[in-house]
Structure formats: structure tokens, C-alpha cells
Symmetry: C2
Subunit: 423 residues, 2 copies
């Protein structure tokens, strides 16, 4: 079997380069000589594009990755956009027996007798270069978050018009981006119809159902079975820490606001407070990331009894140390504490500091009827000051959740359409 190594394929093709910096269309203006080199190096294909005076693109692609991602109809199912190559027989040691380049694609013959063609556009979008990968992750996969302090809040808070979000894709996109980056935004003038939240959720995708149903009404109820359904102050917390699959984003629609002094919303950026903790109290940070807490909720809703428990630290990190989730709720922390006795005191010290910092970094504001407060329940903590209802004024919030899976999916669809429309 022929294995071609370090053999240079060079073609010289007349092509067109656009003056503006728009990658996608640089074949179409001003004739210059473009040179495309394709070579093999250490089981990688090296693609080197240059114009007469400068390098345009230098890309490397692993041989095995190219074979795995052949885009022909036999290897890739077009309508479902799915790889259908038979992986039980897949040969990770597959070799290239021939490689050729045209101006817009490269073609490969493989040692398993298959042939593949890859367009340069397709390859450029999958460039393994660090900068390209980071751009893809931070712009397309999930926008990079920016943490905010109490003092930043006024600067970072964006408001959107309900009508615009419902009707204009660009407003919808900007709202979701704001939510992704800062974790909070307010939608104004949604009216006081109790279906506004459902309509908003349907505009993005669909409501995330929980033990408490799809929409939930937050009103003071005597003998409430959920601590939020009281008019007493509701301390800062995240919702449903007792779910492994915690709902991602809260939509809280103010239908009736309290005329009494209270009923203000409280918010703090949990990730910002973790930044402070990590910097100033590293041993507390470590304790809160390592000690596994039992979060629980026991009760019933709509005739369905439940006993929810999820065990997870207050601060959750991924393998790279990035913050992935904050769990915090005084009412919903179980009295079962499944740690060794030796771990207890330090954890309480750390948690106490965390709670005080959250309090210090929290902002408060009072929603008006027609406002929908939207925020990231994985990252922010929220609360409410106490209030007094009377016969003619019963505070009423209609809430619902959206999941990040669904939001980011919508955001990607909007970004792709936006890019298409721009062209």
C-alpha cells in the first residue's frame, strides 16, 4: 500500500480576492495569483494557501479525522446531516494513496479503496488552529460569559421590548446573547396577560417542566407547601438545586406588583462572588467546590407527591476548573449532611462567608406590572424582600423555565440566519 509522505502538490490558479476582510467571498474580486499547496506530514494533510505576496491560510488536518468525516453520500447522510460510516469496521490506521487539489477543494484516495472530496470552505470552518477553535467556541458554541459586581449592574443590565422580542429575530438574538453573557435581562411591556411567559418561551423553544408544572404562579398562600409561596422575605437562592437537571433560565413575569414597601427582587452574580472567594479565601473556595451537599425538596404539587434529592457542591467546576453551576438555597439544603464530622465546621465557615458575599454583591429593584425578569438560574442567585398583600392588591408573578440546551440551539439558528441575511 502506497503511503505518500511529504509530497508536495502545488497548483497555481487564477482567482479573485476581495479587498474587505470577508473570508467567505475572497475569490470574487481583483484577480491575483493564488497558490494552493497540499502536502502530507506525520499523518496530517497540510493545506497552505497563499496569494502572490502573503500566506492566506495554513491548515493541518489529521488523516484519520479526514477519513472519519468524508462527506460523500455513502459516509454521510445528507438530510439528517449525520455520519453513517460503519465504525465497527473503521480503520484508524487508514492511509492516503493519492491526494489532489483544485482551487476550491481537495480530493483524497484512501487505502480502503474509498475516495473523498472536501471543500476548502468546509475545511476552513473546521480549522484545528487554536485561534479558530476558540473563536468557534466563544462565539458560536456558547458566548463567553462576563461576570458582574453590584456596582456594574446598572451598566450591564439591558432591557428589551416584549413586542420586538416576539416579532424581530434580531431583538430575540440580542436578548438571548445578553442572557448568555451576563445572565440577566428585563423584557418590558409584556402586558398583564398570564400567557405572556408561555408565548415568550414558545418563541425560543418550549417551557422546561418541573415538579411544579410548566408555568408556576408565585402568590402568597396560607399554609404554602413551597417556601417561595409565602409573603415573607425570600433569601437569595437558586431554584431547584435538588435537581440533577436543574432548570436553566427563569422567566418571572410581574402581573401584579405589591403596593406595600416590599416585593423587591434581589439578584447577585454567583460567578462573580466565586471570583472573589477564589481570590481572597482560596481555602473556602476549595471547600465549597469539594464538599458534596444534599439538596432536597419534599412535598406535593398538583396531587403529585415528591421527594427530590440531588447531591452536589455549592460551587461546581468542570474538568478545566471553569464554574459550571452554583447551588444555593437555605430552605432546600437537607438536614442530612453526608460528610465526615471533620468536614462540617470548615464547610459552615466557608458557606457563611459565601452567603455574606452574595448578600454584599446583591442588587435590588422593583418590577412593574408587564416586566419579565429573565436570568440564569445556574449562575445567578435571586431573592425577594417581604411584602404585605391586601384584598385589592395580591402580588402575582407568573414564572416558567427555559433550558440552556434549547436557548443556545435557538441562538445558533438565529446567528446562522443572521449571517446568511448579511451576505
Amino acid at each position: 500500500m502506497l503511503n505518500i509522505k511529504n509530497i508536495l502538490f502545488q497548483i497555481k490558479v487564477p482567482c479573485f480576492i476581495k479587498q474587505q476582510n470577508s473570508q467567505k467571498s475572497w475569490f470574487h474580486l481583483n484577480s491575483v495569483l493564488r497558490v494552493l499547496n497540499v502536502s502530507l506530514q506525520n499523518r496530517c494533510v497540510v493545506v497552505n494557501e497563499s496569494s502572490s505576496d502573503k500566506q492566506l491560510h495554513f491548515m493541518k488536518f489529521p488523516t484519520v479525522w479526514l477519513r472519519d468525516n468524508c462527506q460523500c453520500n455513502e459516509c454521510f447522510h445528507q438530510s439528517s446531516k449525520s455520519r453513517q460510516i460503519d465504525w465497527v469496521k473503521f480503520d484508524t490506521k487508514v492511509n492516503i494513496t493519492n491526494i489532489t487539489a483544485s482551487d476550491n477543494s481537495i480530493s483524497i484516495d484512501w487505502s480502503d479503496k474509498h475516495s473523498s472530496t472536501y471543500s476548502l470552505d468546509w475545511l476552513r470552518e473546521r480549522d484545528f488552529h487554536t485561534d479558530k477553535r476558540e473563536k468557534y467556541l466563544n462565539e458560536f458554541y456558547r458566548p463567553k460569559t462576563k461576570h458582574w459586581s453590584k456596582n456594574d449592574f446598572k451598566k450591564i443590565l439591558s432591557t428589551f421590548e416584549y413586542k420586538n422580542v416576539m416579532e424581530k429575530n434580531n431583538d430575540l438574538k440580542l436578548w438571548l446573547q445578553q442572557l448568555a453573557i451576563y445572565g440577566v435581562a428585563i423584557i418590558k411591556n409584556a402586558g398583564t396577560d398570564k400567557t405572556a411567559v408561555r408565548k415568550l418561551a414558545d418563541r425560543v423553544g418550549f417551557i422546561r417542566k418541573t415538579t411544579y408544572g410548566e408555568e408556576f404562579i408565585v402568590e402568597a398562600k396560607p399554609g404554602a407547601k413551597n417556601y417561595a409561596y409565602l409573603s415573607t422575605p425570600l433569601p437569595l437562592h437558586t431554584d431547584l438545586p435538588y435537581y440533577e437537571y436543574k432548570p436553566s433560565v427563569n422567566l418571572l413575569h410581574c402581573v401584579v406588583q405589591s403596593n406595600s414597601k416590599g416585593g423587591e427582587n434581589l439578584l447577585a452574580d454567583g460567578f462573580h462572588v466565586v471570583d472573589i472567594l477564589k481570590k481572597n479565601y482560596p481555602h473556602f473556595f476549595e471547600t465549597l467546590t469539594k464538599t458534596v451537599i444534599d439538596w432536597n425538596d419534599i412535598g406535593e404539587d398538583g396531587g403529585l407527591p415528591f421527594h427530590n434529592i440531588w447531591r452536589s457542591p455549592v460551587i461546581c467546576l468542570d474538568g478545566d476548573g471553569f464554574y459550571t453551576r452554583i447551588n444555593h438555597s437555605i430552605p432546600q439544603r437537607d438536614s442530612h449532611f453526608n460528610v465526615t464530622i471533620e468536614e462540617v465546621e470548615l464547610w459552615y465557615e466557608a458557606y457563611s462567608k459565601f452567603v455574606k458575599l452574595l448578600q454584599q454583591e446583591s442588587v435590588s429593584f422593583k418590577l412593574s406590572p408587564g416586566d419579565i425578569l429573565t436570568f440564569n438560574n445556574i449562575r445567578l442567585v435571586h431573592g425577594r424582600t417581604g411584602y404585605d398583600d391586601n384584598e385589592n392588591n395580591v402580588r402575582c408573578i407568573v414564572g416558567a423555565y427555559l433550558d440552556w440546551d434549547i436557548i443556545y440551539s435557538k441562538l445558533r439558528v438565529l446567528m446562522k440566519n443572521y449571517n446568511k441575511n448579511e451576505k
Copy 2:
């Protein structure tokens, strides 16, 4: 402020001990002398219960934990079963000024002028002893999983009657326990009404909705936008690896089975295969736990376009190294591979080995109309052999998902009721 240390409170009360080993009722038979010692030691309360001839219980509880978990009406909201102590003012250095014991409870006066009483039953259920905590976690929180090989399958597979699961709590409990421990069970004689899956899900809690709706129909469709909706072989995979919040358990109701040779279900225990990989190919195991893969799904369903992406390794571990999730799908692995070029080859070698081991350890069987195959989508991989529809025989599976949050909640409620009924 008085801090009592190592002061022994001893009471001698006549009480009753049952001969059998039933903790809950040991006050009720055979009069003997029970001795209850309560003392303070290193900011812990030590509770020592003994009968005339042996130690019955030795428990230690941290002072700060006791104060945090005071069960009085001021500190604990009874109807919502929620802690309502004000944590912004909570003093982690709180001291005990007095402690007294009766035969069934201990009472504490605190340096913050508060008083608390804890029943011995309540304390016993929250014992910090390792054995007690492990029992709670493995029996009540989430039953301990048992991994199975291809050869074990016949032994571990349980079947349940649909009617019994729908009507008898004990059958429902046994089915959910089987799912939790082995990740698979078959429900028989559910009929061929397409609502059977919804009824089953409602019996547990509620269906988990995804991009593909609540129930989904798996039938061969020309030009399918989902790879599962073809009659070609469907290789082993997990569903929706491209969701951060991946649906937990599949319910696949066979409404019409294919008369052709194929249409068999394939299943393998991903956790068992990870055991093999970890033991025999530790470098492959490490690669598959560390390399973050882009899982994706692009398309539309019910008029809703989506572009789902979730980045996660094939084998996910928690902080203690326990397996938490398997991601595997040849069709739904993105051609965007966001790693350095140097990581690519080893990952492909490792994944290829994993895929071959899954194949080796997979079982196959053909469902009959009326069967509902239920399995853990976080842990097992499933697939299907190809089949041929004809005009009078169109294979039809109605599917839906349930989430573990909801299943475990139901299981805990059933276990509590079961224990109550036993008494």
C-alpha cells in the same frame, strides 16, 4: 458566655427492647434499663445510648450543624419542610450553654438565646457514622448500580406486567429499582394503543420533552431528518448526547414489529465496558474521559429548526472518579473537533477500541408488539438491526423519555410509603 465541655449528662430510664433487629421499635418489648449519655466534645454533641449490657447507639453531631437544623417553628417552616433560619445573621461559632436529655430527645440552650429540641429518632436518621451515611446513600438516595456483561444479561433482565406496574405500587417500585440498578427492564402486555407510554410516564411523573417533542414515533420515513427514522441498521449509541441535560431513561413501546428478519434491538451496558477499558486499556480510558467531544444535531422537527451542540467526553466522571454518563453516537458526533492536532490520533484509537468493546458486549433480542423496553440512556447504549417494511407491515415504535430526577423522587416516595405500610 458559658461553653460546656465534656460535662456528662446521664439519665437512667426504664424502657423496652425488642429482640428482633428492628431499630425503629426497640422501645417496646422486654423491660431493661436504658442509659442515655449526652456530652460535649470538641464542638460536638456526643449521644451514647446503652442498655444494661451493651452499647445501643453512639452518635456525634457537630454543634454548628445542630444549631443550623433546629426544628422549631421559628427556624423551620413545617408545611414546606424548609429551613427558615436567617443565614445572613447565622453565627457559625454559636455555643451550647445548657444541654439536657429525656428518654426520647435532647434539648439545647444556645449562646444566641435560642433553645432547640431534637428527637432521638430524628437524630438517628441523620447519624454521621460512615455505615449509616452509606446505607442512606445506597438505599435511599440512589440505589447502587450493578454493571453487567453480555453473558449476565439473561440473569439480570427482569420483566414486569404493564397492568401490575400501572396498578400496584410494589410492582412500580420494583421496576424502577431494576432500572436504577441494572439500567434495563422490559414491561410486557402493554397492548398496542399508542398512549401506553404516556400513561406509563404519568404513572411515574411526567414525560421529559426534547427537541423531538414528548412522544416520538420511530418509523422508517423517506428523507428522514433524524438518522433513527430510517430502516437501515442503527449502530449502538446513546440518545441526545448533544444535550447538556440529556434525557435519562428511554421508554420504547413496540406497537408494530417487523415481519422481516431484522428490527432487533441491541443493548450494551456502557458502564461495564468502561470497567473493561479502565482495567485493560488504562491510557484509552484516560483519553476518553479527558478529551472533550462536540456532539451535535442540526435539523428541524415540527417546524422548529435546531442546532444542538454539547461538548463533553465519551466517558464522564464525577469528582470521585465514578462514572456519571456515557456519550456515544457515530451519527451525532460533530465534524468540528475542538482539540489540538496532537490529541486526535490517540483519541481515535481509544474510541475505536471502545466501539469494538461495546459491540462485543452487546445483546440482541426482538420485541413483540405490546412490549415496552425501558433503559438508562445515561449509561446503556442501544441500537437496532436493519429491517424491511412492506405495505402491510410498517414497524412502529412509540418512544418517550423520563428523567432520573423524577424517577428517583417517585422511588423515594414509594419506599417511604412502603416502609410506612410495613410498620
